[in-house]
Amino acid sequence: MKLAAHVAVLLLPATLVAAAEDYKLGPDSKRQERVPRGAVTQGRYESDDVYPGTVRDYWVYVPKQYDGKSPAAVMVFQDGRGYVNEKGHSRVPIVFDNLIHAGDMPVTIGVFVQPGSIPPSKPGARARRTRSFEYDALGDRYARFLIDELLPFVEKEHEVTFSTDPERRAVAGISSGGICAFTVAWERPDSFRRVLSYVGSFTNIRGGYDYAARIRKTEKKPLRVFLQEGSNDLDNLHGSWPLSNRQMAKSLEFMEYDVRFVLGDGGHNGRHGGAILPDALRWLWRDHAKAR
């Protein structure tokens, strides 16, 4: 009886969500003939400064057009494994190849980073996972991790140079990675001014619901923010994702930010965000296309 009740409760929302979502990847997210392909390499990073003891995987995408002489634009994806996967929700290497080739975005290096984990010192003990600690916390710590630690390491390790122009530095993420991306730019607009969030957790996991209020009473920052959200997203102990994202969008609009809010009918996943990623990137990098 207990089991049957669980199944019924679990299945209902899953069915609704599945029925609501029909987002499909378009041609910009598929391999095209004669489009130069960038290279993706994987690495592992052990922090000894901002998040001591944590280890994490990362990937670096370097477009074919990167000549190694002029600094490239950079876009950092949190929960990067899901974004770099060429069979995943966003297939960023393919989309970057296509959009860079078309001149819709600058020559951009993608950095895809996983959240950290502190492995145990003893066999049989549990690792301390630091995803929520890093992503959901407010403050400048994660921004410092990217700016002072990870990106300089990647530049050295992979022999690339990132632009120091904040207008050419973007940060992205999904769920808690979405609020994390916003937090990086909010704290450090001197370093990042482009934000892309899928189903961002602007809820009360570790206080992030407060942004909607803070934005309205804080002098406007020079950010460009793309928020994707779905009406069937989470409604749980931490809050309502659809309401929180609407609040964020309204607050950013109230302060006349350069903001775009796309509300679909998806759930807590990257399908809608992935389907509209090419358009989101064209919007985030639109000055580049104009400049050409």
Binding site: V17, P120, K122, R126, R128, R206, N269
Partner: protein
């Protein structure tokens, strides 16, 4: 029951639908996973001055102290409460060790001691360490003891051979508990709305301390959380006694919910005890309460249950 324990084709489909999103959503742990409908706090013992230090033995029997009375009491299987030790020099924190002895922090005596439980009585206490102050302790499966020293704002490690060393300092510690598997030690900070987590090294020292659990709920108008004793359940949730109530955190440090206090007095400590360790026992000023819940505790010295 946790979601991962339900294995049917239907839930497998649901799990696949959720996991395919690559959003890496940690499992949410709301209070509905903990509280049983219709089960509230029930009174276990009353008439004390200040109760603290609940500890559980391998059979699930709960012991607690009355600090100013310098007594240790035991809740028997039939619910009767007996006094098993007197003259404890204001012992507060208690925990059973791997040797079956009951370890305690003597607030008054400023000593870490242990008693052998001999039938209905207790032998004389054995002294393990003398410290500037001691409030609460966690005894690991190898016999190492972590002790909070609020006066000097530090945490001590007392090794099985009696050697002692300061292993953390710089905040006012009170409660202390080890994760199951003993990879992480969690320590409260009396003055701040977070709990510290440290990695336990092979030599017992602590590394990579972070304000991992937080933010804690503060009662409106309060600036300090009043964090005190803690417990962990078999699913790795952590419970901490505070002014606002019994705050429950998931293993990634996110607040899952706040369980109401049984009475509006100081809530000092918590332990899983009773049959199958399925009751939360709390010490709350003059009284001790318990409440049946969905999760259960699983102390390392308990007989394997599953």
């Amino acid at each position: 029951m946790t979601m991962s324990n339900v294995r049917t084709p239907a839930t497998a489909f649901f799990a696949a639908a959720v996991c395919s999103c690559a959003a890496a959503v940690a499992q949410d742990m709301p209070l509905t996973q903990v509280l049983l409908p219709g089960e509230g706090w029930e009174l276990v013992s009353e008439g004390h001055r200040f109760t603290e230090g609940p500890a559980v033995d391998a059979e699930g029997r709960v012991y607690f102290v009355d600090v100013p009375a310098s007594t240790i009491h035991r809740v028997e299987a039939d619910g009767k409460v007996t006094t098993v030790v007197s003259g404890t020099e204001r012992t507060s924190g208690l925990m059973f060790g791997p040797d079956g002895r009951l370890y305690g922090c003597q607030n008054g005596g400023k000593k870490v001691v242990s008693w052998a439980v001999e039938g209905d009585g207790f032998g004389p206490p054995k002294v393990h360490a003398e410290l500037p102050s001691c409030n609460d302790l966690a005894v690991l499966s190898d016999g190492s003891i972590y002790v909070t020293d609020p006066k000097e704002q530090q945490v001590w490690l007392v090794r099985p051979n009696g050697e002692k060393a300061v292993v953390a300092r710089g905040f006012e510690p009170n409660g202390v508990v080890a994760w199951r598997g003993e990879g992480t030690l969690v320590v409260t900070d009396s003055n701040a709305p977070h709990l510290w987590a440290f990695r336990i090294e092979q030599d017992g020292t602590l590394k990579y301390g972070e304000k991992y659990y937080g933010p804690l709920f503060l009662p409106s108008g309060k600036t300090v959380p009043g964090s005190d004793g803690m417990a962990v359940d078999a699913d790795h949730r952590l419970y901490v006694a505070t002014h606002a109530g019994l705050q429950m955190f998931d293993p990634t440090g996110r607040l899952g919910g706040v369980i109401a206090k049984p009475q509006p007095t100081f809530l000092s400590n918590v332990v899983f005890g009773g049959p199958e360790f399925r009751y939360l026992y709390v010490t709350c000023a003059d009284k001790v309460y318990r409440r049946k819940v969905k999760p259960h505790g699983r102390p390392y010295f308990a007989k394997p249950a599953d």
